[in-house]
């Protein structure tokens, strides 16, 4: 009776069940997440910056005249003196080179997001693979990967990046890869391995082996899905460190990028306005505040996700 049209019931029923689990766990996680106020604050800040990033190309095509408002080669001909303080036409003023600061801020937001997400994705893909493989195989594979992790953790990221950017031209893409590799093979890999260790001893791994499942099957079907919540959490922390590293490097003028928040501070510094905060606040605050806010926003979301993923941390 129940097996009348199994041919069609099988795949659809299966997908419906999987969707149900996904939506159910998403809903439960969201409820836990929403209960932690810091997560909501972080998410709001991220949302605001995402809006800024999305709005920039629209503004450039409609209201803002590219000759004046281009974040890199624009010049505010309407101002007599550069840097000009905030006005109606330039809400955050202009920089020492006569470029609109709000436009720079919004333009950079997009590349900060792209950088952060790419670095986080690379980290998580590598970290999950390293963690699952080290925990599953153990033995010399584990030893090799963990000693490599030690090296990655010991490596001072910023100094390495300084050397690398001196040797090869580092842009956002390369930066994201480097951060992703350092963190994925390093700390994130170690944390995910410790989580994977608690998965590989479960009887369902034995059951899969007894069924004849190969290494690939077990890692991909049984271990990785159980690591994903933690992986996702570490994505958030990587975004923070990526944005921060980018700011440091471009402040030092070591990044080969057209515009970024760090570069905005760099321009201010090289024009000699860095220490005159009270007189030229609009040169420093927008960029540095953005770095701080976006970094902490991702960190807050991460902290809040931590409570969702780690039941022990939940405060009731």
């Amino acid at each position: 009776m129940s097996t009348v049209n199994t041919q069609h019931a099988a795949p659809t029923g299966l997908w419906r069940a999987r969707l149900r689990l996904a939506s159910q766990s998403l809903r439960e996680s969201w409820q836990l997440f929403a209960r932690t106020r810091i997560g909501i604050i972080g998410l709001t800040i991220i949302g605001l910056y995402a809006l800024l990033a999305l709005a920039h190309p629209i503004l450039m095509n409609t209201v803002w005249e590219p000759r004046t408002y281009d974040p890199v080669v624009g010049y505010a001909f309407d101002e007599t003196q550069q840097p000009a303080p905030p006005s109606l036409k330039h809400l955050l003023g202009t920089d020492p080179l006569g470029r609109d600061i709000l436009s720079q801020l919004m333009f950079s937001a997009r590349s900060e997001f792209l950088l952060g997400l790419l670095a986080a994705t690379v980290t998580v893909v590598i970290g999950t693979a390293v963690g699952a493989i080290a925990a599953y195989f153990g033995g010399w594979v584990d030893t090799l990967l963990m000693r490599l992790a030690d090296i990655m953790i010991m490596m001072p990221a910023i100094s390495v990046l300084i050397v690398l950017s001196a040797l090869i031209g580092v842009e956002h893409f390369e930066l994201a890869l480097i951060i992703g590799i350092l963190s994925g093979f390093g700390a994130t890999g170690v944390v995910l391995k410790s989580q994977a260790l608690s998965v590989v001893v479960k009887p369902y791994i034995d059951a899969a082996r007894a069924a004849g499942g190969g290494h690939f099957h077990i890692i991909l079907i049984h271990i990785v899905p159980n690591l994903l919540p933690l992986s996702f959490l570490y994505m958030m922390f990587t975004v923070t460190s990526a944005i921060f590293s980018e700011a440091v490097l471009s402040f030092l003028g070591l990044l080969d990028v057209r515009m970024s928040w760090g570069l905005m501070i760099h321009t201010t510094e090289s024009a000699g306005y860095l220490l005159q905060v009270t007189d030229f606040w609009w040169l420093i605050f927008p960029a540095s505040l953005s770095i701080t806010l976006l970094c902490s926003a991702f960190y807050l979301v991460g902290r809040s996700l931590d409570e969702v993923v780690n039941p022990r941390l939940r405060s009731r």
Partner: protein, 339 residues
């Protein structure tokens, strides 16, 4: 690799036999250490299992019964000895060190049911995914055939109608239902041999009988042989035609269940039996007490394993090697110098 040992069953009836099976675990791994110690988890265990027979493996925790079971389905590779499996062509094949495709092929015919139904299923996979996993990794059938087969197996283990279980997740099922699903996973490929590692010990008393009845019926229906691992003598009595009692990696007594339980030969079996509570406060029974507690068999001395705790041991037991499993009459095997 011809299996030559004291096989008591004629080869055609024997499904699987362990021959001098041992598993040693190094105590401390050191690259440069020479004097390595080993835990003798299982030490020279031999027995045969006939087609359709249920052999109980009884003993306290840490005696090596689970390791023995795992070696028979090759979840653990034996350090020494052979596992002879009667394959389709009727030859005895040593599966102790199989690899690759032959091992995968063997896995179709030998399965395991695990102790903890709460941990033996991936919480992120549906019951269908879990039960169909063996079919999936062995590439048996296409999707609709697998679906058909999983449904059949689920109704066979009493999860009816299957449609209301297929797309559930383990956490939505009760312990008994989960264990039924775990049995379905083990049976979906129609194996001839199943190791059941205390499948009822984590369940409520009220549903244990149901699971045991189910396993008994399935064995009769499908002609499955079980190696039934348990520490509960009542369960062993219910499930098994023969039992083997293990102590510190050795089988100390083996025989027909009723015989062994009614008239134990080995002092350890006697002690085990006297530890079973009798539901009659007036019952008169001679208590057998043994000293100390179960130890860890790290590089055991060449003497009877039970010497330290045995109430009847003497100097002979101390000075001589662990006694072999000998016929003590009426098909009963026991390993004791004194009995």
């Amino acid at each position: 690799m011809n299996g030559s040992s004291g096989i008591s069953n004629p080869p055609s009836r024997t499904l699987i036999s362990a021959v001098n099976l041992s598993k040693l675990y190094p105590v401390s791994e050191g690259w440069f250490r020479r004097d390595r110690s080993f835990i003798h988890a299982v030490d020279g265990v031999s027995f045969d299992l006939a087609r359709g027979e249920t052999l109980g493996l009884v003993g306290e925790s840490g005696c090596g019964k689970t390791t023995t079971g795992r070696m028979l389905v090759r979840l653990t590779e034996p350090t020494d000895g052979q596992v002879l499996f009667n394959n389709e062509s009727g030859d005895l094949e040593d599966i102790a060190h199989l690899k690759g495709a032959p091992l995968k092929n063997f896995r179709r015919r030998a399965q395991m049911v695990f102790q903890d139904p709460y941990e033996s299923m991936n919480p992120r996979r549906t019951i269908f995914d879990t039960v169909a996993e063996p079919l999936h990794v062995q590439k048996i059938g296409d999707h609709s055939e697998r679906f058909e087969r999983v449904s059949e197996t689920l109704s066979m283990v009493g999860l009816t109608p299957p449609s209301s279980f297929l797309f559930r997740f383990p956490h939505e099922l009760s312990g008994g239902q989960r264990q039924r699903a775990a049995i379905a996973r083990a049976l979906v490929m129609n194996p001839s041999f199943v190791v059941a590692d205390e499948p009822t010990s984590m369940l409520d008393i009220s549903i244990r009988t149901g699971i045991m009845q189910l396993m008994g019926e399935l064995a009769d229906q499908l002609g499955i042989s079980y190696l039934y691992i348990t520490h509960d003598l009542a369960v062993a009595r219910y499930m098994c035609s023969r039992i083997a009692v293990m102590y510190l990696g050795k089988i100390v007594e083996m025989g027909e269940t009723e015989e062994v339980l009614r008239n134990p030969v080995h002092p350890y079996t006697k002690a085990l039996l006297s530890a079973v509570p009798v539901p009659d406060p007036g019952a008169d029974r001679e208590p057998v007490t043994i000293k100390g507690s179960v130890s860890v068999p790290v590089d055991p001395l060449p003497r009877c394993r039970f010497y330290d705790r045995c109430p009847i041991a003497d100097d002979f037991c101390r000075d001589n090697d662990h006694p072999p499993l000998e016929d003590k009459g009426a098909g009963r095997l026991a390993a004791c110098h004194k009995a």
